[in-house]
């Protein structure tokens, strides 16, 4: 029986190797980005899948997040008779933190899982080897369109989710705490600064890159048939979630230094 330390060491080495593989994939992907106009159809198709088709679920998620955020904040603020400050808390929480991280997790679960499954299945069916034998670089053909689609669409989705979430908060503020829509939205526009929006968008762009790179790399290293594809999807989603939170922490530290 293996010693616990031996198992732990193996896991750490495996994680380090995966991080190294992802780090190596980034420059290879960026190197092919300038010629992406030649495959604009594939980029647009991926944008549609990652962005447009995620709009309904992103709207539902952010609207209810706005509702819950306003409800919790409102109950706490009521103790101090400060319900009027509700808009400040909802807007800043959503724009700086909740919007990017929740949308990032949504896209990791919805799009990242699909990417890992698609590339993993292609890998098992020798389709990626076939691309190589035809002189087609798999990074250029498979990773670049997904990478570009996600780094473009995730900031747009986050902006959209922020607006819906703030509207959800307004609905709760008006219906439950008697804060007028006019006052709520005037406060929102007053408290949100350009730097707050920038922080959210930087996070969204980095999250998009993380989802694409991690999901693609898990797809490329898929082995072992249908079971292997299932394992790749689970690992891709879980690893992306962890990466998103780690990245979120460092960007927050950096932007609020």
């Amino acid at each position: 029986m293996k010693q616990p330390l031996h198992i732990l060491g193996g896991r750490v080495l495996e994680a380090a190797q995966f991080i190294g593989e992802c780090a190596a994939l980034v420059p290879r992907t960026l190197a092919h980005c300038p010629s992406a106009y030649r495959q604009r159809q594939r980029v647009l198709a991926q944008m549609t899948r990652a962005g447009y088709e995620s709009l309904p679920i992103a709207a539902a998620l952010s609207f209810f997040t706005g509702l819950v955020l306003a409800l919790h904040s409102g109950i706490a603020l009521r103790t101090f008779r400060a319900e009027a400050e509700l808009a400040r808390i909802v807007a800043l929480s959503l724009v700086k933190e909740m919007g990017p991280i929740l949308t990032g997790m949504l896209i990791a679960g919805r799009v990242g899982a699909a990417i890992a499954a698609e590339i993993g299945t292609m890998n098992i069916n020798e389709e990626i080897d076939a691309l190589r034998t035809m002189g087609i670089n798999p990074v250029r053909y498979l990773v670049v369109p997904r990478f570009l689609a996600l780094i473009v669409m995730l900031p747009l989705l986050v902006t959209y989710a922020d607006i819906i979430g703030i509207c959800g908060g307004a609905f709760m503020a008006k219906s439950h705490f008697g804060v007028s829509y006019t006052y709520y939205f005037r406060t929102v526009t007053r408290v949100i600064w350009f730097q707050d929006i920038l922080e959210g968008l930087i996070k969204a762009t980095l999250f998009g890159a993380l989802v694409a790179i991690i999901a693609c790399q898990f797809g490329f290293r898929t082995r072992g048939g249908a079971e292997g594809v299932g394992r790749a999807i689970t690992r891709a989603v879980v690893s992306t979630f962890v990466a998103l939170f780690v990245c979120d922490y460092f960007v927050t530290r950096l932007m609020n230094y």
Binding site: E126, A130, M134, G135
Partner: protein
């Protein structure tokens, strides 16, 4: 010395032909490859003449497909020389090796058609990626599909095709690149006897019409005897015997005798 595209590659000549007119399209010299502790290729040697159909037979997992993947650059050997069209692949700069690989087509065991693309898109994929005009791609796709008797299937998806038809599309996709050498990895595995005949005829047809060099990896002895000019038996990481189909059929080597006995129907052994 064979040259392609009018370029000279003298510094990277094959050690087999040593710069003289090379009669071999493929030559491996003391090729070694291991995966961890498992030695898959051990001082592997082979010479395949231009226009020849060379069949490599051997048990599953003996390294036949691994060798094919070395030829197309999907795997790199640990040591030894692998010369294609008179040039040592290991000594060539990556850009020249890539250029050389464009003259080699591979038909995968699973056909490896992109499931999300139609037959038209699969066959024309490499051409589109090279920036060829759409009309020219369409013309070549139709021509290659006609060559493999699959006219009218352009808009079908791989899932709508039979196993034999998928193999034919895979061959058409390979032909679209005008290869000088075609590698077939287990072309008849998983097909019924009629489909196997169909694929055998296709290999023979391609050889007759296009004069390409073919390397077929299989454990199907019926296919091996039908399509081969020469057969090599792979065992223990190397070719233990090479000969014409007749020589292999009459071989006294116990490894070959046992392999044929297990993989050839009784009635076919004396044909």
């Amino acid at each position: 010395m064979v040259t392609m595209s009018g370029k000279s590659f003298l510094p990277f000549v094959c050690p087999v032909c040593t710069g003289e007119a090379c009669e071999y399209d493929l030559a491996a010299v003391k090729l070694n490859r291991s995966f961890g502790d498992k030695i898959v290729l051990r001082d592997f040697e082979i010479k395949v003449r231009r226009g020849e159909t060379f069949v490599i037979i051997g048990a599953s997992g003996c390294g036949k497909s691994v060798f094919l993947k070395h030829i197309v650059g999907l795997l790199q050997p640990d040591s030894g020389s692998l010369c294609v069209f008179g040039r040592d692949l290991r000594a060539l700069p990556p850009a020249q090796a890539e250029e050389l690989h464009r003259h080699i087509g591979m038909v995968f065991q699973s056909s490896a058609l992109l499931a999300s693309l139609t037959v038209r898109e699969n066959v024309g994929l490499a051409l589109v990626e090279r920036g060829m005009p759409a009309e020219e791609v369409e013309r070549i796709v139709k021509e290659k599909l006609h060559l493999v008797n699959l006219d009218g299937t352009e808009d079908l998806y791989p899932a709508e095709l039979s196993g034999g038809m998928r193999k034919r599309v895979a061959v058409a996709r390979t032909l679209a690149m005008n290869p000088k050498m075609i590698l077939y990895d287990e072309p008849t595995t998983g097909l019924d006897p009629i489909m196997c005949d169909d694929v055998d005829n296709l290999i023979l047809d391609m050889k007759r019409r296009l004069k390409v060099t073919s390397i077929v990896v299989t454990h199907d002895m019926v296919t091996a005897f039908r399509v081969a000019d020469r057969i090599g038996m792979m065992h223990g990481g190397r070719l233990v015997e090479i000969g014409t189909p007749e020589e292999i059929r009459r071989s006294e080597n116990p490894i070959i005798r046992e392999f044929i006995a297990r993989n050839l129907p009784t009635e076919a052994r004396t044909l």
